[in-house]
């Protein structure tokens, strides 16, 4: 069953060099996401990934086409949609002088819900940081905390925008495990990434975007068979990341 249906979605912005002309950041794309899937949107910078997510999340106006989540139209029912989704944004800054527990309780209240901050922090392995302020966290901890914030309303769909950008290999693997766990528990996950390995490792299906258009969509395996069936050269050994992890271990460092 499709939980997300996107049909000819369009987003236009004025051109930076000439404000009177418009260009399409998202150019009439269509795709469906099944319940319980991990769906990855890949593409170079400026491909339209974040614009697509922001329209689905109700943060940005839809200029054309339609999108629905769990049967709710995003442009007519944005507030009902917001009730059932969780969002992790690229920027993860929070109010100063407010600690993690207090922030989680606040986000819960914004959904008119009671929150157990310790349970959520336990889920993302930050139990000992409940009294810390967000700016005292490392990059990986910040990302895990922003996922905890996205989970306060126990969402049906979780959106992750480049969740592992800037993380060290340990933190990255740790976050992948977290995403897997959430998905195993039944959550549908939509993520954007630049990291091909991440897409291959995590996603059931991948959409590749370029210049606002969706140029390919399938399972990682099928995409590989179709577009890169002959490996350039069989690797004789692991890569430098494997070396790094072999030497420094898989244990988290923050």
């Amino acid at each position: 069953m499709n939980i997300i249906e996107v049909n000819k979605l369009l987003k236009t912005y004025p051109k930076p060099e000439n404000k009177k002309e418009f260009f399409s950041a998202v150019d009439g794309i269509s795709f469906n996401i099944k319940e319980g899937e991990i769906y990855g949107i890949l593409g170079p910078n400026g491909a339209g990934k974040t614009s697509t997510l922001e329209m689905l999340e109700g943060l940005n106006d839809i200029d054309g086409g339609s999108a629905s989540i769990d049967g709710l139209d995003v442009s007519t029912d944005p507030f009902q949609v917001k009730q059932i989704i969780g969002v992790q944004l690229q920027s993860n800054e929070y109010f100063d002088r407010i600690n993690l527990s207090e922030l989680l309780i606040l986000f819960g209240k914004l959904y008119s819900q009671k929150t157990d901050p310790l349970e959520l922090l336990g889920k993302v392995d930050l139990l000992d940081k409940s009294k810390a302020k967000p700016d005292e966290l490392s990059g990986g901890q910040k990302q895990r905390f922003s996922i905890a914030c996205a989970l306060v309303n126990n969402p049906k769909v979780l959106f992750l925008d480049e969740p592992t950008t800037g993380l060290d290999p340990q933190a990255k693997r740790n976050l992948w495990n977290l995403v897997r766990e959430l998905n195993d528990a039944g959550m549908t996950i939509v993520l954007t990434t630049h990291n091909m390995e991440e897409a291959e490792y995590l996603c059931n299906r991948i959409a590749i975007m370029d210049k606002g258009k969706l140029i390919a969509e399938d399972t990682p395996q099928k995409l590989i068979m179709k577009h890169a069936s002959v490996p350039p050269k069989a690797p004789l050994h692991g890569n430098i990341e494997d070396v790094f992890l072999a030497l420094t271990g898989h244990e988290l460092r923050d």
Partner: protein
Amino acid sequence: MFTNSQLHLAKVFLLIFLRDRQSILFSLFFPMIFMGAFSFSGGEPDPINLGLVNNSNSTASKNFSDLVIADPLFNVTKGEENELKEQLVLGDQTAIIVIPKDFDSLEDSSVLRLLLDASQVRQQAVIKEVLNSSLLSIDQELRDFKPLFTLKIEDVKARPQRYIDFLLPGLLAFMLMNLCLAGSGFNVVEYRRRGILKRLFVTPILPKDFIISIVIARMAIILMQISVVLGLATLLLDINIVGNFLSLYGMIILGTFIFLCIGFWLGSVAKTQEAIRPVVGLITFPQLILSGVFFPISSMPELIQPLAHALPLSVIVTGLRAVANDGASLFALNSTTLGIGCWMILSFILATRYFVWKDVAN
């Protein structure tokens, strides 16, 4: 009246403020420093340093010197002309009065020389005034005249009114304006820049929930800060609030509403943190000077008085002063309450018309 999420968000805004000890201290520091300084001087100008050269040996000249010395306006140093001139150049003396040898000659009118430092022209009028009146009384004494008129000054309000009583409402209003502008416009721009607004609008709250929360939190902060300053002023400086506190606090709440609206408007006009500083400066500095915080608007050039009276800070200063000094009521219909009403409508229109939500979130 308010939803749970609005109240909780307001509580968080309040916590953010209360945990920022430094900013609390600084926002109390400014009005306290001013009040402290003015309460010590009592609003009276410092005595003018006056050098006195007496070249005459007559009784009249002695009487004249005694009169000048006795005047609290002057801090008199007696000496030789050359020596005092040097002090005048150095700035130790503001003026020198030279009594000529033939001071008590009844036949001719004698000329007293007043040497002034050109940079002190502001005090020239005062010095001349006092010297003239002292000379007049000496004159009468010498000629054995009885004065025909004397002047007795009575306060028409028939109650003690010190400069500090005049100053306090002005300072409260100025403090209120700063707290409002810092709490609305600055916050919106800062939260937008850091992506915090976007994070909030991922959740199903409405933009109006966010605004209402800020307004509740700021209202609480301002009432607390103003009560602290007012309390300290009443306790330490023996300030006398003539009107009732309901009117005073009502006026403060209406002022807070006006300046929060103006702050939200500025926050949407200025898109960046760099832009909002000069924009807020442009609004606050002219008002600090023109709105009668430190001296009454009626002492300003006539040309700018109508403009000065129309400023939002002026209506609040005038309103607070009317309550605190003259016991006016907030509920009386007069030009001040009318001005407050007009600014409430105007600022609300500015705030709601220009506050573009999608821009705020993105």
